[in-house]
Symmetry: C2
Subunit: 129 residues, 2 copies
């Protein structure tokens, strides 16, 4: 069971895909993305480093995270909210941390991850696997 | 003007976002993604390595490519077709190759790239920039 350190990148700028009031311009500190960063920081599992990022450029399907580690596929997930998905994200991050090449078997992925994968990038070491 | 080698990852499995016949199951070699791989291989600029990837997991907005290089942001772009976008992709790849950190100024990006960025991932070396 590999235990590489995982980067859990969290877009702090995300407003969420369907804000109640799309014209609202929330303060940067109260945006859903920033709330998600704080909630994940408070509960980060061993071997998972929470990193706040200014923009992961998935603005129409935020909130957004990405998981990466050395030698593994990088995954981007979207349509997340700080109210509903902190536990889901932590579960998915732990499974990713423990999976060889970051490849968690489909059925073992959290349902939200299965339905809201935005993109994935192959590892530098073996890009055409 | 940095000249790092760029990986231009191309999803060979993509069928395109809106196929004329969504029930059609084209042969793997005739899928739009595979056609895009071949077209880009034939025209790859200096310093840009075309890499065919089985799936970049952006299936609802294919065809899909990703650009990455050492020390730079990785970008994923979608809604591409082999008929319309080979020149656009090559132009965008060359600008990415020549840009520090992979950050091409907004106005200099091809219009399709501006409107169809799926996600971006920060460089390993400075993930919270």
């Amino acid at each position: 069971m590999p235990q590489d350190t995982v980067d859990l990148l969290v877009c702090a700028t995300c407003r969420s895909a369907s804000p109640a009031n799309p014209l609202a311009m929330p303060d940067p500190d109260t945006r859903p993305g920033a709330q998600l960063v704080r909630a994940l920081h408070d509960a980060a599992p061993e071997g998972v480093r929470i990193i706040s990022v200014d923009c992961l450029s998935n603005c129409s399907r935020g909130c957004t995270i990405a998981l990466r580690k050395s030698g593994a596929w990088t995954y981007v997930y979207g349509n997340l909210t700080p109210e509903l998905h902190v536990t889901t994200i932590l579960e998915g991050a732990q499974k990713y941390r423990d999976a060889e090449n970051g490849l968690v078997p489909w059925r073992e992925r959290p349902e939200h991850f299965r339905k809201n994968c935005i993109a994935r990038i192959p590892p530098l070491e073996a890009p055409n696997v």
